[in-house]
Amino acid sequence: MEKMSPTQNDDSGSETERAILRYIPESVDYLHSVTKFSREELKTLYRNFKNECPNGMVNEETLKHIYGQFFPDGDSDAYAHLVFKSFDRGNSGVVNFERFAIGLSRLLRGTLKDRLRWTFELYDAKGLGYITKDDVATIVRSVYKLLGSCAQPQLNDDDVTEHVDRVFDKLDLNRVGKVEFDDFYEVCTKDESVVLSMSVFDHAM
């Protein structure tokens, strides 16, 4: 249950009187029960979260900024936007700590299926239930943007397009033009490298 405590409520929307919402997260015990993090990990996570977002919520700008710090040469906006949308399923514009922690738990401590499910949802930005080639292109392009301008060998559009084609061909077994989750799951679990790479995150925190 979310508790929002507006310190100042105003509907006129003027700049100076915008409502300052504060978000108080659920208790540590509750989060411990719904995520696979230990109490200590949750505490550390929240403390760091609160340092950056004292309101208890992170909005897209902040997330983009934070993500961009890890890829200083690149343009992380595109990918960060997609990640934000995947955390903010309800399209509320902010991600509170619970969603954040639950999302992280799914990714870092979840099963392969959980991760693949999240990845599928990430790719499926429109929420249609299937992935098209455009979605794959969006993802691949945003990942390439993370590299930045100083990549070797030099980036060109053909590489990216070829990459997109390759990935989509791999995923779209039935040659239907769209990939549903079951197909996606099947392809990925059959692919050794995907399974292996996913297991990299098994111990991550």
Binding site: I66, Q69, V143, V194
Partner: protein
Amino acid sequence: MSKAVAAWLPFARAAAVGWVPVATNNLPPIPYARHKPAEDEIITLNVSGRRFQAWRRTLEKFPETLLGSCEKDYFYNERKEEYFFDRDPEIFRHVLNFYRTGKMHFPRTECVSAIDEELAFFGILPDLIADCCYDDYRDRKRENDERMMDDSADNFETGTAAGTSPPLSTSSTVLGAGTGKAKAGAPSTEQSLRARMWHAFENPHTSTPALVFYYVTGFFIAVSVIANIVETVPCGKPTNSEIMKPCGELHPKIFFCLDTACVTIFSVEYLMRLFAAPNRCKFLRSVMSIIDVVAILPYYIGLTITDNEDVSGAFVTLRVFRVFRIFKFSRHSQGLRILGYTLKSCASELGFLLFSITMAIIIFATVMFYAEKGLEGTTFVSIPAASWYTIVTMTTLGYGDMVPRTIAGKLFGSLCSLSGVLVIALPVPVIVSNFGRIYSQSQRQDKRRAQKRARLARINAGKPTKSSSYYRRKPDFPEEPDNPPPVNELEVTSNGPQRNTNLVNRFEIDHFHLLNCLEKTTNHEIFETGIAPHSTTTTMHHLHENNEPHIRRESHGSKHSADLSECSRSRCGGGNTECQNKYKTTPFVIRVRSPSMRAQLSDEQVATATSNSMIGEDAMHSLKYCQSKNPII
């Protein structure tokens, strides 16, 4: 890369899950085999009896400072399990806040030099002082520095590079020639003649010959000016005439001799200054030198002109320029210099005054002209003639040589004098106060601009370059997950409390791993474009840059990176294992700039480069601890 964001690494890692299905290659595993969740603990800092406490992670956000590195272990009190610092607790509060918020605020109640000492002790650069407090800090620091400079016996150095030289200081010339280069040090005998001469010219009170020269030139300037004046005084009748003639015509030879002597002295002085000037072009362009030239040139031009009737008029005009010799006094008088400087800076105000007066003059002159036009024998013969009346009336002079006689003329004449009072008397006090205000304001503005420039330049130079740290120290992540590098390579080799270095390096490893995953996903590599040659806090020394074959060795001593010294096998030409061993003992990592060179790098080149960069363990340790004691401010 702000360490404050290090806390969000788990999130970044989680987001990387999305790369997996599109990855071209396998993602490398996390380079430490066992997952040790580093628990955070609360550290107690006892500063002169007052206990502060903070999370260890908070302090380790800035590993190049004392509290963030293992330097603080020297202050560890085992019995009480706390760190004890015998420093000022009031200032330490601000220091600790720096770790918490990332911004160092400057307390206005404390003395600047006390703050400086504490910052130096704790290894925090003054550059990290927050924007809100930085101007204040710089101002106070500059005041302090200036006061110290005044107190000291040597008084050569005046303005700092960041500030403007106060015009009241005796050893600077605001309009002076080549002040920028005139920062000669102490006039020692080793210095060249030119430098010594220049120094003597600019700072006459420092040595006796300079003082003598100073007074001699001053005397001759006075003599020259007085001679000019006396020349025109009528002092007697020549033998064959009834008319009083001025002295200049009665005793031309005396005055000519005087003039010659003065001009000789001035010429010699000018040539000497020109010779001694460190930057001759700048000197030639400076105002004082122009004044000098204008003062002595008429004489030489007069010498070349014969007693021709036509040009004698021009010759007389030239003599007018001799009066400019009086401006040579501005080298001797600071007040004159200040006046000139403020006039220059108030030029726009003066210009506006002039413009508005001109407008008023034209308007009233036109009106008066047409008002008096009909009258017989009027003095207002034209608009320019009427404007003379207007000026005289508006400035409330009222010579009386032109007087309006018509009623309309008198009406407008009175209007003119009333408005004159307003137009002239009002702006003048405003301009006078503007003098003071604009003067000090422009000084402060220039100061702030120069400060900002200098600060930005310093920060830019010192900003730890972004992915360069990754690129510089890309560890070798194994291709196969079942062949991870042996764990002991990653453990720190030195003894002692190592918990914090573990954490710090852990973050680096994690970050590099993330970037490595990105590389593997896209099958491209991250190279950096701009590389800062060094970072201000962490450079211990540069190794010379070897242009061929583009090997650049840099130190990255801010991290205790004895453990992160694996060389990436792919970098060396040919994947030799001995290369890896060589790098183990040094934190310097070879980085190859151009990928084509990578293949060409022979083993011996790498070997020589490594051996040149090898430094013994002890030296490394002492260097590590040295750098936080002497941060480069």
